[in-house]
Symmetry: C2
Subunit: 240 residues, 2 copies
């Protein structure tokens, strides 16, 4: 059975303007790979209602799971929750269960649950909450879309809350070999190897270091014996 598929939607003008470098994509990619869920696509869109709604619809229809990052805080530019509700035609308002979580949190810290903070309790009617042990305000899952915060520490905590509930696949095994030769020198034999092991994914990732070219060859598959066999052949082709 093929592994479950997933997509990620990153919401944030600050990434598209180059002000901030996204960290959540790389984190989520690693966590999903460990669980045998194949991340097939990532989209980054701006804090724009039309763009977010369209992306949620497209990705939730195309993949088994969608993970979103960003835009669920208390400020005026946090519009993700409302956009996700709109994408599914669901109602959204402050929900009692989410409000209770926030109330307990702010009572404990002596802060006021003001109107802005209460926006973080806006949850679509049909969603289930995602636990946020870091800062309280929950994320939520609606259908196959998991809506999470953009602050990396909170995003990571929410991913840890969501993943155990998802059915994973066979973890993708990978082995890699660094070859300090230009890709042009190794491409021919490598293509033959890829053909002989067409059940595996064999990728060549070039790099440049101190003016010299090289490539990391990564062999991926769910059958460990096959990956081992391909690696042995790869080392024979390109002895160190």
């Amino acid at each position: 059975m093929p592994n479950p598929t997933a997509a990620m939607l990153v919401i944030g003008d600050e990434i598209l303007s180059g002000r901030t470098r996204d960290a959540n994509m790389h984190y989520l990619a690693g966590e999903l790979t460990k669980r045998g869920i194949d991340l097939k696509e990532v989209r980054v869109v701006s804090d724009d209602r039309g763009a977010i709604v369209a992306a949620v619809k497209a990705l939730s229809g195309g993949y088994e799971h969608v993970f979103t990052s960003g835009g669920i805080g208390p400020t005026h530019d946090d519009i993700t929750a409302d956009c996700v509700a709109e994408a599914f035609g669901d109602q959204i308002d402050v929900r009692d269960d989410a409000r209770a979580i926030l109330q307990a949190r702010y009572d404990a810290s002596g802060q006021e649950l003001n109107a802005a903070r209460l926006r973080m309790a806006r949850i679509p009617d049909s969603a289930t909450l995602i636990d946020n042990p870091v800062s309280g305000a929950p994320g939520f899952t609606i259908r196959n879309v998991h809506v999470m915060a953009g602050v990396p520490s909170v995003f990571q905590a929410m991913v840890a809350s969501v993943l155990p509930g998802l059915t994973g696949g066979a973890p993708l095994l990978s082995q890699s070999l660094r070859i300090d030769r230009g890709e042009g020198d190794i491409a021919g034999p490598l293509a033959e190897l890829a053909e002989a092991f067409s059940d595996l994914s064999i990728g060549s990732y070039p790099f440049q270091q101190n003016g010299a070219y090289g490539a990391n060859i990564v062999i991926r598959g769910s059958d460990g014996a096959r990956v081992d066999a391909a690696m042995i052949r790869l080392r024979e082709l390109f002895p160190a």
Copy 2:
């Protein structure tokens, strides 16, 4: 006149598997912002023909410029050039102008222009070449799509070759203020500020540092006097 819009397409299994952290998105975002070209969307897809062709079609139809990164090297998994040709219904084969560039490069370094390297001279018929002063093998522009390498040093050199030829817009000016208070405390006044300066983009980017919450408020616009005025009001609202 509104600024030109752009999208980026990153091609690479290694990013979706979490093996490599993408660096080109952040770089391109910063360069486009400086030139007044608005990056509106980024997509990351795997080394899959159908996924690449569909993304090229969607993005080239939706934005004024599309920049792609990755998949134009000499190995079997480098399929971007062929996919872009397919997306536009163009023919692709080894082209004399690209072959001449490679031949000169490899003659100079005493390396052989073998069959694998010759794949890097596969250029769609209607494309124009993008100069690559770093490693020789050119990128290309076809219609509104600029096809570039994934290795960051080469990607950056190609961006430098392409951008001077594009019409930019009014550079987006931005100023920011760090506020060491939780977003929930500042969201109310901030929303009023955003309403009073609705011609500007006012974003709040929360962070967590040493257990305390804060936010960077970023005010963006092309009218420097308006950005200044909004910053003055922002500092009045939240004195240090």
